[in-house]
Amino acid sequence: MKKLLILLLLISSTAFAGAAQPLAEDVALEARLKALSQELRCLVCQNSTLADSNAPLAEDLRKEIRVQLRAGKSDKEVVDYLVARYGDFVRYRPPVNNSTALLWFGPFLLLIIGSFVLYRVLKKHAGNDEIKGEDG
């Protein structure tokens, strides 16, 4: 009788309120895959990340990345693996090198030069006269 009751309880608990299982076997690995593949471009659709794309190639690549991560490869090694096959095009984060120096540092240069020029112009514009402030 007692056994039956336990059995009943078990059945009812699975039928009414099973806890949802994570889709992935290895949640930590999957999180890493997701973070990594969000910075990679899907080559087939080209407008979505490897993480969001449903293209078969994207699925294959995610599978491949999963295998490599499980084998203990670092994120960088995985990215290098893909770059060797598809070129820098797959990286949403362009590498920092000579040809992308303008891209990465240009805006900051613009900010610095802009501030400097503004300061010079303001200085010239203000002249040497005494200026009084206004509330408003």
Binding site: L43, V44, L57, D60, E64, Y86, G87
Partner: protein, 177 residues
């Protein structure tokens, strides 16, 4: 005039930008050049389609100039280039090997039966692993591999007569010398 010079800077910058935009109109942003061109082709071993038990080893082709054509039965554009491949096969001077990418043997064989077989042999790549090593992203793709086993050219998308005669044939002539 000197006073005007600095006010011409915006115009100058704009014209430079226009130059790039104009150039950009004649480029295809979707075409991704392969970083493998000029590098040794990946060596692979895989079953040959329709010849049970036999495997193909790409290392065996060293010393030979050959084409690797990636295709599949589910790929519509592959049918478009099929006649061109058949023409090439007829010349008996170009050795084309097929890579049947993510496909079933049955479907692939049906295609070859219906449209003719332009390949010396077709290698099967059911799970797409070889495809990944070659950086395949849009079937059909064709690779020209030289005697040393280096990839010399890649065509993404169907081969047309134009591409065949202006790019592939001259390259093959040069490589076969």
């Amino acid at each position: 005039m000197n006073r005007m010079a600095k006010f011409l800077i915006p115009l100058a910058l704009f014209l430079v930008a226009v130059g790039f935009l104009a150039k950009g109109l004649f480029l295809d942003p979707h075409e991704v050049p392969s970083p493998l061109v000029g590098k040794p082709a990946p060596i692979f071993q895989a079953p040959i389609l329709g010849e049970a038990g036999k495997t193909f080893n790409s290392a065996d082709l060293k010393g030979q100039v050959w084409l690797l054509n990636v295709w599949a039965s589910w790929c519509g554009a592959c049918r478009d280039e099929h006649p061109v491949l058949m023409e090439m096969a007829k010349t008996k001077q170009i050795f084309t090997y097929g890579l049947d990418y993510k496909d079933t043997d049955q479907a692939a064989q049906a295609v070859l039966l219906a449209h003719g077989n332009p390949y010396q042999a077709t290698v099967t790549d059911a799970d797409g692993k070889i495809g990944i090593d070659f950086g395949v992203y849009g079937v059909p793709e064709t690779y020209v591999i030289d005697k040393a086993g280096v990839i010399r050219f890649k065509q993404t998308g169907p081969i047309t007569d134009e591409i065949l005669f202006t790019k592939i044939v001259p390259l093959l002539k040069e490589l076969q010398r």
